[in-house]
């Protein structure tokens, strides 16, 4: 790609110098950014808003008092949905749930990211085997019912995408008012994650005759379990 490198250097200079030599009039200072959610909103109202928006975008919302209750809800839902093969991420929320023993007791086949020797094995599992992907979230934005996950060694991207059902555990302490609160926290300091992905409801399309079809490429079902972690 040596020739391409030379070419791009010249092209870059040409483009930038043309843009610079054009007249620039300057722009007036902007007004403060309009907010999505009243900054004075209290916690209970914020959680209610999140529940309302999650439901509106097509997620099924459950509430759990503590981690044991999360496991109970998962057991019920997996049985109900006929799910036995689960692929889980290894973020703090998931690891804090101690799911290994639980899965063994309940007879679920649970795989975690570190169970895979190679990315190839992982892809086989996530595309062909997993009936559900299980993840925590970094944040949930109440304003639009969006789950926000940062990619990393413990949070792979395809876990919440390739299986037909996605189960997301949202600790209430990670609920924030709006989009700006999310990006301030993720991009405000430190190293930037390779990818931050936002999930707002199931995968959908209306591309054929405008008929809404859920689960087009990603999950058809998004289950959100709100974990009240205030009592530790």
């Amino acid at each position: 790609m040596g020739r391409a490198m030379v070419m791009t250097e010249n092209t870059r200079e040409t483009i930038l110098s043309k843009l610079r030599k054009a007249p620039h009039k300057g722009v007036p200072a902007r007004n403060p950014q309009p907010v999505q959610v009243d900054p004075e909103i209290d916690r209970p109202a914020l959680i209610d808003l999140l529940k309302e928006k999650l439901t509106l975008v097509g997620c099924r919302v459950f509430e759990a008092q503590g981690r044991k209750a999360v496991r109970g809800i998962l057991t019920d839902l997996f049985h109900q949905e006929g799910i036995s093969r689960i692929l889980a991420s290894e973020d703090e929320v998931i690891t804090s749930l101690n799911l290994r023993d639980w899965a063994g007791e309940q007879g679920f086949e649970l795989k975690s990211l570190s169970d895979f020797e190679t990315p190839r094995d992982y892809k086989e599992a996530v595309f062909l085997e997993a009936e559900a992907g299980l993840t925590g979230v970094d944040f949930a934005a109440a304003s639009t019912g969006s789950l926000v996950l940062a990619a990393g060694p413990r949070q792979a991207r395809l876990v919440s995408l390739a299986p037909i059902s996605h189960f997301a555990i949202v600790p209430l302490s990670r609920v924030v008012p709006d989009h700006q609160s999310v990006v301030e926290r993720i991009f405000g300091q430190g190293e930037r994650p390779s990818q931050v992905f936002w999930i707002t409801g199931p995968s959908r399309t209306g591309d054929i005759e405008a008929i809404i079809n859920l689960g087009m490429h990603g999950p058809k079902n998004v289950f959100v379990i709100l974990l009240d972690d205030s009592t530790g």
């Binding site: 992982y122 991207r157 087009m216």
Partner: protein
């Protein structure tokens, strides 16, 4: 993609008679527009949101070179490779070179208008590289060789029987069906295998953040997420105006983009990439290539009026409210961009000479301007293009007004400047028109006025003009306007 802007009238006429087109145009744009209106109406401050995103876009256009340099620096610091492409060929060649060099068996694409502009699919096919569109609508249009009908629903007008047949033929569907959901499932199964073994994914870019070197994509299906998560190589192409100053600005623009586009607070999936996968990550690309495409934009940037067209974020809101698009649909615009968005972008990127019907097929109703989250004044721009075309502007490939038009305008200027001549000529014209009066109205006129009068009825002209009556009244006459 092939430019067919010169066939505007021809295609529009055909589309006006196409029953499938009619069926969808009666419902689809209004529905999307309604969702947009409803979403904004539920917010306490809709005007503030539109004004603020317009202000960000205005700032972006003014600060463009600085923002691009900052973006490049930060994207490179994140580990992305940035390639500047002067035109579509350079961008296409880069992608072809990369695909050959890495020996990828095929490429999957997320929906991207810029690759339509570049004609990437055609270039890849010519180079013998398989490419799969993965957005359902784009997948269908690719298999059928159709242009996009609407930016949000590229294949919304395609009859299910046609989709069934092409899926049976080319997309491995075994059981014939015309059920939209089952057709979607067939595409899911077919493309899933492509995603699984994908080695190179190509996407567009909705917003590029200068402050952090991050690129945003928004979608509803998840196909773009696959194109950015599964392969070893990710190529994302942005036209140079897609940059935004800060993460806060970009996130705000994303919100107003989604609200304007489909009335969603956010599309189902938003991905924000800052560089390739990091050590220890199981998925995500090992190489992230970002192509910054000019394709004529730095030239048109020289004109401060025209430059404002670059504010466009491709939300598609203007299409849904346009009375012209609402009748003819997306095909007549003849290129990557349709509706008012296409009427302002296509003439700039292709030249005024081959797009004259685009900037003339406008009633100047200004509805597009009122819904635009980028603050574009479409109608002013279209008037400007008409003026530049009539003036024969060389930069914009204006054609110059035809001789009869020029002669007519000369005559008008001469007459309008000379009250005596004006009185005589207008009196003559009025009396001549009255010859065609029938049953108290003039419903047709000959010659140059034929087209104009074919849709309009005039009352007959009165014998005396207003000025004459006024003068007679001043002299004490009765000044009645009877014939």
């Amino acid at each position: 993609m092939k430019v067919k802007t010169e066939q505007f009238l021809q295609t529009a006429r055909a589309e006006l008679k196409n029953e499938t087109t009619r069926k969808f145009l009666e419902v689809f744009p209004q529905t999307l527009g309604g969702l947009r209106n409803r979403a904004f109406s539920l917010l306490p401050n809709p005007r503030e949101i539109l004004d603020h995103s317009a202000a960000i876009r205005a700032e972006v256009i003014d600060r463009l070179p600085d923002l691009l340099e900052t973006f490049e620096k930060n994207a490179q610091a994140n580990g992305a490779r940035v390639f500047w492409a002067g035109d579509a060929d350079q961008a296409n060649d880069y992608i072809i070179g990369l695909a050959r060099d890495r020996g990828v068996p095929y490429i999957s694409k997320g929906k991207s208008m810029v690759t339509e502009e570049m004609g990437l699919n055609q270039a890849l096919e010519k180079a013998g590289i398989d490419v799969w569109e993965t957005d359902l609508g784009e997948f269908i249009t690719q298999l059928l060789g159709l242009p996009p009908f609407h930016i949000i629903g590229p294949a919304i007008n395609v009859p299910v029987e046609q989709i069934r047949d092409v899926f049976m033929e080319k997309a491995g569907m075994t059981e014939p069906t015309t059920d939209p959901v089952e057709l979607g499932q067939a595409a899911r199964r077919f493309l899933r295998e492509k995603f699984h073994h994908l080695r190179m994914g190509v996407t567009g870019v909705n917003i590029a953040v200068a402050e952090t070197g991050t690129i945003f994509n928004v979608e509803n299906e998840g196909n773009i997420r696959y194109c950015k998560s599964s392969p070893q190589i990710q190529v994302s192409i942005m036209t140079l105006e897609k940059v935004a100053p800060t993460m806060a600005d970009a996130t705000f623009l994303l919100w107003s983009l989604c609200l304007s586009s489909t009335g969603q607070g956010l599309g189902s999936y938003v991905t924000m990439d800052s560089g390739p996968r990091k050590p220890g990550e199981l998925d995500g690309p090992e190489e992230l290539h970002i192509i910054i495409l000019d394709n004529g934009r730095s030239d048109l940037y020289q004109d401060p009026v025209v430059r404002e067209a670059l504010r466009c974020m491709r939300c598609g809101a203007c299409l849904n409210f346009c009375p012209v698009y609402g009748q003819i649909g997306g095909y007549p615009y003849g290129w990557a961009y349709s509706g008012p968005m296409g009427q302002i972008l296509n003439p700039l990127l292709l030249g005024l000479d081959i797009t004259p019907d685009l900037y003339r097929a406008c009633t100047l109703c200004q509805k597009c301007k009122t819904v635009c989250p980028a603050g574009i004044n479409h109608t002013d721009l279209m008037r400007y293009y008409r003026m530049k075309d009539a003036a024969g502007d060389r930069e914009m490939k204006g054609r110059g007004a035809p001789l009869p038009d020029k002669a007519l305008h000369r005559l008008y200027a001469l007459t309008a400047d000379n009250p005596g001549l004006w009185t005589v000529l207008s009196r003559w014209l009025n009396l001549s028109a009255n010859i065609f009066e029938k049953d108290g109205k003039i419903d047709h006129l000959p010659g140059t006025a034929k087209g104009w009068s074919s849709l309009r009825d005039l009352p007959p002209f009165p014998a005396k003009t207003f000025h004459r009556r006024w003068k007679e009244m001043e002299r004490g006459g009765k000044g009645e306007g009877s014939k």
